[in-house]
Amino acid sequence: MTDPTMRFTRRDFARFSLAASAAMLGGSRTLRAAPPSGEPIRIGVLHSLSGTMAISETTLKDVILMLVELQNRKGGVLGRPLEAVVVDPASNWPLFAEKARQLLAVDKVSAAFGCWTSVSRKAVLPVFEELDGILFYPVQYEGQECSRNVFYMGAAPNQQAIPAVDYLLSEDGGGAKRFALVGTDYVYPRTTNQILQSYLKQKGIGDADVMVNYTPFGQSDWQTIVSQIKAFGSAGRKTAVVSTINGDANVPFYKELAAQGISATDIPVMAFSVGEEELAGMDTKPLVGQLAAWNYFESIDTPANQAFIREWHGFTKNPKRTTNDPMEAHYIGFNLWVQAVTKAGTTDHDKVIETMVGLKQPNLTGGVAEVLPNHHITKPVYIGEIQEDGQFNVVWQTPREIPGQAWSPFVPETRNLIGDWRAPIRCGNYDTVKKACLGTRHV
């Protein structure tokens, strides 16, 4: 203070305090970023916050809010702040379409992140195509779709179901020779099982060795079906269950398996819809060893994943909140969108869609997600066994990322189809044999 040159003018003080408060707001990690200013860029969040699907989708809304906050701390996008517009379609499929229209036409969002069930995605698809919006879809799904306006961040069947069955067929997975395909009665399980049945046939598993069973949403009495599986497993060959049971119905299913004394070493159950979030509501002791196939597990130990989990716990102020696969898909999708907007220099939908293909984003498990011409991404596949603490222990993984296939080669009608939104094809369902685009028809 004795140094005469160290004089503080009022303007200096103002500058200093502004910087300090910005730094405090932004936290220590992002000292260098200038605070974003100007007209905010709006993004839409289209997840059910009430009704049956709230159990899964509320978390995804929180993830997007967290990612927006992080991005704003880093200086926003194009120097402008991001603003999330949250709507609640209330697990009601027609309402999804209405809310999507509101986001695009009224709120003029630059991109939307949302949907969980395939039926809700199918409901909003015509809206996004009509108004030329951008939707990032974060959940593993049955494939057989490739829209110009949707980016599929979840796994296609060849990135989850097929590797999972490969594992069950392998020595390590028990060398299963008989398969019970058990699912909830709607589009995802039915399409997935159709693909799996044709795949199993190719692998030399006869029709007599495949049992298919569908149950209504929210099935809570599994006694008969579990005893059927038990009887099916008594044919003298190793039997495995592939479960596409959705959401809430899983808890009573696993409870019944445990009650009837079927353990994972006898008849393993491979689930495609059971993640850390679902296990949080279960007594996991009798489930040890049951399997799940995902592209991400919370237990995978990488610096990026650690940082993500830390942020999540901080954001939710709950050190017990779990992370799961669709959350990672949103993480990838959000960052890809930020990259695309930054690279294109604009939020114009057409320019952003054009820029997306070919972008690369490190995922949380140490690999790289690349946007493919069919608007799917490359993903690694992990098989995890449930542990007593409700986390998954990874017992198998693909050696490298697998590119997502929009159209399944195991379904006769779509065997020759590909999606390619680059010039010159610019088509979501291009027939490689007839060399023709089937057009806007969605199969």
């Binding site: 028990g174 569908y214 809570s220 809430d248």
Partner: protein
């Protein structure tokens, strides 16, 4: 040669298994017959990153034994076995480490340890090996469990262990499972050649034992083309015999499933039978009262866990009165605060209670979060027991008993208490009852509280078999109304009959046409029935009915 080695290996194993294996005998057995694999290092496989090698090593430890085999297997099953960077194997007990190969304590924690990898394959081999050890050294109960496990998961490598157990004196109860295990092993791939006669004898043993596991072994044997034709034929006809027996039992099993589903329906509907059946209130928030009961169970369990963890096993008996009181109080609050203003206006009641159900759902969602909460099943309710060929799961069985008890209690209250008499009086002729000096408003509140409390009891039961989430109630409301209307409004016996009919009917249709179509078909049948009998199965008769 192989026979002799097996016997020696067995001796080695026995030496290990007996009473913690004192050092001299250990040295002796290893010196006397170093098994080929063990000579290298019986534990080497455990340090491998490959599950295949780990499972193989566990299997070898189980059948051939090694000085520390028992301790190592036990450590592995408790997740206490670790591999160090240099390939050393260590057991961790709390903070202290011991060298797994020698059993000697290690002074400093080994560097760069990771747990020995486990998956289903390893766990399967481990269970097998532990069963072998238990058979030779465990107490009576452990030996019986082990013999049953070996019979259900036959592995010919364990044959010498079973033979040894058969040769030593054992209790009578062990003979049958051991014979069964031996027979199953003889018919499994990789079994020593014993000749057709022994195989046919084994087939007969399994045929008489019956059951799905025996059937699986026979089916595998019958499909094996290298086996002698005559024995395969015998296996084929044994399967037919077993299948016939299983079919008979499965009929009884279906009835059990039906009654079990019926008792869940009965519990859910009984509260509604009082509020809707007796009082005539269309309470759309009934499901949410069931949900509140389930959440009360959750809270009781959580509180008990925090306050007195030792009593956690008794959380369910405590949750029963808690849920009754909480939901009963909530019900009385609803009646006093909302429904009493709407008597005689069914449409408004329907809308108001439906709105209330949404409010309750969202309130619970805000309070406890949208995800499921975990309600643990106490040990005494987990698992199942065999009743002949019938698998009776304990939780379902308990719910059946509970439903019966609640039904009895409600019946007693309605028929044998002053309150019950007043309730019936008020619902049959309100004006007359009031003239007799009955405080009808108070009776209304108590009746609604009783129905709500019973809904809470259903919540306690449901928490054991279903999700506890804010949406729980929605799954039960439709079924509850269906039961009450189908059974006949205002008649508890009708509710009982309807619940059991729907339960058994649903379970009978399910294997025939699938769960989805079964449900639709059942609804169609009920609609047709109500078309012909609009007042349900047991309609109320008498003068008071029309008003």
């Amino acid at each position: 040669m192989s026979d002799r080695r097996r016997r020696i290996a067995l001796l080695a194993l026995l030496g290990v298994a007996l009473a913690g294996a004192p050092a001299p005998s250990r040295a002796q057995t290893v010196d006397a017959a170093p098994p080929v694999a063990a000579a290298a290092d019986p534990y080497a496989g455990l340090t491998s990153p490959h599950f295949e090698a780990i499972a193989a090593a566990v299997g070898r430890l189980g059948t051939e034994g090694a000085p520390q085999a028992q301790a190592v297997l036990r450590a592995l099953s408790a997740h206490h076995l670790f591999v160090a960077e240099d390939g050393g194997l260590y057991v961790r007990e709390g903070e202290s480490w011991t060298d797994a190969r020698t059993g000697a304590p290690v002074t400093s924690a080994p560097a760069g340890v990771r747990a020995v990898r486990e998956n289903n394959r390893v766990r399967g081999a481990l269970a097998q090996a532990m069963a072998g050890q238990a058979l030779l050294a465990g107490d009576a109960a452990a030996r019986r469990d082990a013999a049953a496990r070996l019979a259900d998961h036959p592995d010919p490598a364990m044959l010498p262990v079973v033979d040894r157990a058969l040769a030593t004196p054992h209790e009578a109860g062990l003979e049958a499972p051991l014979r069964r295990a031996r027979a199953a092993m003889l018919l499994s791939p990789g079994a020593p050649a014993t000749g057709e006669q022994a195989q046919s004898a084994a087939v007969r043993v399994l045929r008489d034992a019956g059951g799905l596991d025996a059937r699986a072994v026979l089916a595998r044997f019958a499909a094996d083309e290298t086996a002698p034709a005559e024995a395969r034929q015998a296996a084929q006809s044994a399967i037919v015999t077993i299948d016939r027996r299983i079919r008979l039992w499965s009929l009884a099993q279906q009835v059990f499933y039906g009654l079990s589903l019926g008792s869940v329906l009965l519990l859910a509907a009984m509260g509604l039978a009082i509020t809707f059946g007796v009082m005539g209130i269309i309470n759309m928030a009934h499901g949410e009262l069931v949900m509140l009961g389930a959440y009360t169970t959750y809270l009781t369990q959580k509180t008990l866990m925090a306050v007195a963890p030792g009593l956690a096993a008794f959380s369910l008996p405590l949750a029963v009165p808690a849920a009754f009181l909480v939901c009963g109080a909530a019900g009385m609050l609803i009646e006093r605060g909302l429904i009493r203003f709407l008597y005689g206006r069914p449409l408004e009641t329907l809308l108001a209670t439906w709105g209330l159900s949404l409010v309750l759902q969202q309130a619970v969602r805000s309070l406890f979060g949208p995800t499921n909460v975990a309600v643990a099943t106490p040990g005494w309710l987990a698992g199942s027991f065999q009743l002949g060929g019938l698998t009776v799961t304990l939780d379902r069985f308990a719910i059946m008993l509970f439903a019966g008890a609640v039904m009895g209690a409600v019946f007693l209250v309605l028929r044998r208490t002053a309150l019950g008499l007043q309730m019936r009086a008020v619902t049959q002729n309100r004006r007359m009852a009031a003239l007799m000096g009955i405080r009808t408003a108070r009776v209304d509140a108590l009746t609604f509280g009783l129905g709500s409390g019973v809904a809470g009891l259903a919540g306690v039961a449901v928490s054991q078999i279903d999700n506890v989430s804010p949406n729980l109630g929605q799954g039960y409301i439709i079924d509850s109304f269906l039961v009450v209307v189908f059974g006949g409004v205002g008649n508890l016996w009708g509710t009982l009959a309807a619940a059991m009919t729907l339960g058994v009917g649903g379970k009978a249709l399910e294997p025939l046409v699938g769960a989805v179509s079964g449900k639709i078909l059942l609804l169609v049948l009920v609609i047709l029935f109500i078309q012909r009998h609009p007042r349900g199965m047991f309609p109320l008769r008498g003068r008071g009915v029309e008003s």
